[in-house]
């Protein structure tokens, strides 16, 4: 059995590690390219949301490389279409005549444990070990990404941060033992601290929106890098760890609900509430702009978008909403980002004087 899973930004490294540590034979997904998206969109239902089309493209490429089992986690508590991802993908791939099995997880630790145990036959200790390894890997990835967001607008030599980041992820992928991982974390943070940068204040922009589009740089056209190179410090609350934390501690959601009750009185599925909460937080922390990223026609995010726009009108903070799908061209997106950066810099300049 050769398993595969959808590509998800830099987190792919962590998932690959998890599968390998459990002793599964894994075909890691290729990085998402425009061609992947095109292949997926061709067979996907026209009105389905964008991530499904990307996932299908990833699966198609992995199947060509010999994978025969797809692993997909779908939400149990969410109200949106994510619940049906695996069933619909399974149906579509079978209709296309591909021989592929699906292992479908609920997003609950117990369910993931029991199903992974069935396909891998690993012992409980091995599970604990690989779960720890995966979580540590995710945490390192997020630390590096966060640091890069700070460094990009300030670096002395343009592009150094990204070159460093690429080599760091390449090295991270090769690490096998937990002890080495801890050593790597220490070393890499030390090395990263050596990147020379100017100590200066720069405009800050917060990114809110749907978790997959926000964190997968291969589908959001590396928006963080683009903004960084244009001299903007990017902040992003949404990450895999944040999502996992919310799954384990439900009261985080209650706290968020209390804070946004003047704008939205209930969940709207997905991370709809979080977008409002984060935007309010960025306004409070005196940011210079907010960008919302969403896959086109995403149900929760389109529901909250008028509310985000209302906050933008009330507070005057620059706001840009980018919906991403297979028809978005990079050149058009660049123009919009550049125009937005001008607005942000204007706003920042006015505030300073």
């Amino acid at each position: 059995m050769k398993i595969t899973f959808p590509y998800w930004g830099n987190y792919t490294i962590a998932f690959e590690k998890l599968a390998k540590k459990l002793g599964l034979e894994v075909v890691p997904p290729e990085k998402t390219t425009p061609l992947t998206i095109e292949k997926g969109a061709k067979i996907a239902p026209e009105m389905y949301c964008f991530p499904l089309k990307v996932n299908l493209g990833n699966f198609l490429e992995a199947i060509e490389k010999g994978a025969d089992t797809s692993v997909m986690a779908t939400a149990r508590g969410g109200s949106c279409r994510l619940r049906y991802y695996a069933i619909v993908e399974d149906k579509i791939l079978k209709d296309e005549g591909k021989k592929v099995n699906f292992v479908i997880f609920d997003q609950s630790p117990l369910d993931i444990y029991s199903k992974l145990k069935k396909i891998s036959g690993a012992s409980f200790f091995q599970f604990l070990n690989s779960a720890l390894f995966t979580l540590k890997t995710i945490s390192i990835i997020e630390k590096l990404e966060k640091r890069a967001q700070f460094l990009r607008p300030r670096e002395k030599e343009k592009g150094e941060t990204d070159r460093f980041l690429n080599s760091a992820f390449r090295r991270l992928r090769k690490i096998e033992k937990f002890f080495d991982l801890l050593k790597f974390e220490r070393e890499i943070l030390k090395e990263m601290a050596q990147i020379k940068y100017e100590r200066k204040e720069v405009p800050k922009v917060g990114i809110v929106g749907e978790i997959y589009t926000v964190t997968d740089h291969s589908i959001n056209f590396e928006i963080e890098r683009k903004l960084g190179n244009l001299g903007i410090e990017v902040h992003r609350e949404m990450s895999l760890f944040y999502h996992l934390k919310k799954k384990i501690f439900p009261w985080i959601d209650w706290k968020i609900q209390r804070k946004i009750k003047n704008y939205l009185g209930s969940t709207v599925g997905g991370h709809g509430r979080d977008a409002i909460y984060e935007m309010l937080k960025y306004v409070k922390e005196d940011f210079d702009g907010v960008i919302q990223l969403l896959p086109a026609m995403c149900m929760p995010e389109t529901t909250v978008r008028p509310i985000l726009e209302k906050i933008h009108q009330e507070t005057g903070i620059p706001f840009l909403s980018l919906s991403i799908d297979e028809q978005v061209a990079e050149a058009g997106l660049n123009t919009r980002i550049e125009a937005f950066v001008d607005v942000v810099k204007n706003y920042y300049g006015k505030k300073k004087n």
């Binding site: 009105m47 109200s79 279409r81 049906y84 209930s266 709207v268 529901t303 008028p306």
Partner: protein, 295 residues
């Protein structure tokens, strides 16, 4: 005091119930008119460009009611009796209405996972300063009227189903089926072409075996699945599913509805409606579909 009810989207989930309920509580009810071109245009103007067509129509109705009444009633429907969820876009309707309109919004959450429908209704009545007795009386009368109305419809549909004519089932959400402007009078068009249209919504759902369907957490998912299983027991010539553009739920549902009809070898047509749908193209597709069946 005047209470406005938009005649779109969630209204069609329980037509006649809400207006009856408020009228029994001695309020004046203003129902927005049937959807027309102006309402749709207004709705498209104010709502999010990527939300579904049905939502846009709803906001058009809200805009029509704006400043014509004291309150506009926008309930927050979350889960139904069977503890199944409504479309997630319904969850945010009162908040969006507040963001778009000047008139006060009268709202109440109906989440039967947490509390019974009657209890939520009581809370709603309390907001309007009515006592328990008045509220439960109004509820009873409204429910009774709704029951008679539904029975009459079910009886009619059953008669149609058992007749010998050329039957076409129309599958969609009630807000697409019963709104003639939105669905471009599809029932009339089918009738003119010599076939008998049957609304899936008007069929009584029987408790049938749903092994061929995934387990839906949406109320309409289960309902449509059950009704389709029921209708497959009768002889049907074809099925047409209508979706409003950008409807997220239908993107899922369509896959399984189509699969089910294909399995029974019943011809199936999928139509998407939105504010730009041209009548001519629509007519051609229906004609072509009926022609293929008749051969």
């Amino acid at each position: 005091m005047k209470i406005g009810i938009p005649r779109a989207l969630i209204y069609w989930k329980r037509p006649i119930f809400w207006e009856n309920f408020f009228e029994n509580l001695q309020f004046e009810v203003i129902l927005s008119p049937k959807t027309n071109k102006k309402i749709v245009e207004e709705g498209v103007k104010i709502s999010d460009p990527e939300t579904c067509f049905s939502n846009k129509v709803y906001f058009g109705h809200l805009k029509w009611l704006d400043e014509k009444c004291d309150f506009i009633f926008v309930p927050r429907l979350k889960t139904n009796k069977e503890k199944l969820e409504y479309c997630p876009k319904f969850f945010g309707l009162p908040d969006l209405a507040k963001a778009f309109l000047k008139t006060k919004i009268l709202t109440q959450e109906f989440d039967e996972k947490k509390e019974k429908f009657e209890k939520s209704l009581l809370k709603l009545g309390k907001k309007l300063r009515k006592n328990k007795k008045e509220i439960s009386k109004a509820f009873k009368i409204a429910k009774e009227k709704e029951k008679i109305f539904l029975k009459e419809k079910e009886r009619e549909t059953l008669k149609k189903l058992t007749s010998n004519s050329f039957k076409i089932v129309l599958i969609s959400h009630p807000y697409n089926l019963f709104d003639d402007y939105v669905n471009l009078r599809i029932a009339q068009r089918i009738k003119n072409l010599g076939a008998l249209p049957i609304f899936l919504e008007n069929i009584r759902a029987e408790n049938t075996n749903l092994d061929l369907w995934p387990k839906f957490h949406w109320e309409f998912g289960k309902e449509i699945a059950q009704k389709i299983e029921t209708i497959l027991k009768y002889e049907i010539s074809g099925a047409i599913q209508i979706s409003s553009f950008a409807c997220g739920c239908d993107a899922v549902l369509k896959e399984f509805v189509e699969k089910r009809f294909k399995k029974e070898k019943i011809p199936f047509l999928y139509l998407i409606i939105d504010e730009h749908t041209g009548e001519a193209g629509f007519q051609t597709r229906i004609e072509a579909f009926l022609d293929t069946i008749k051969i």
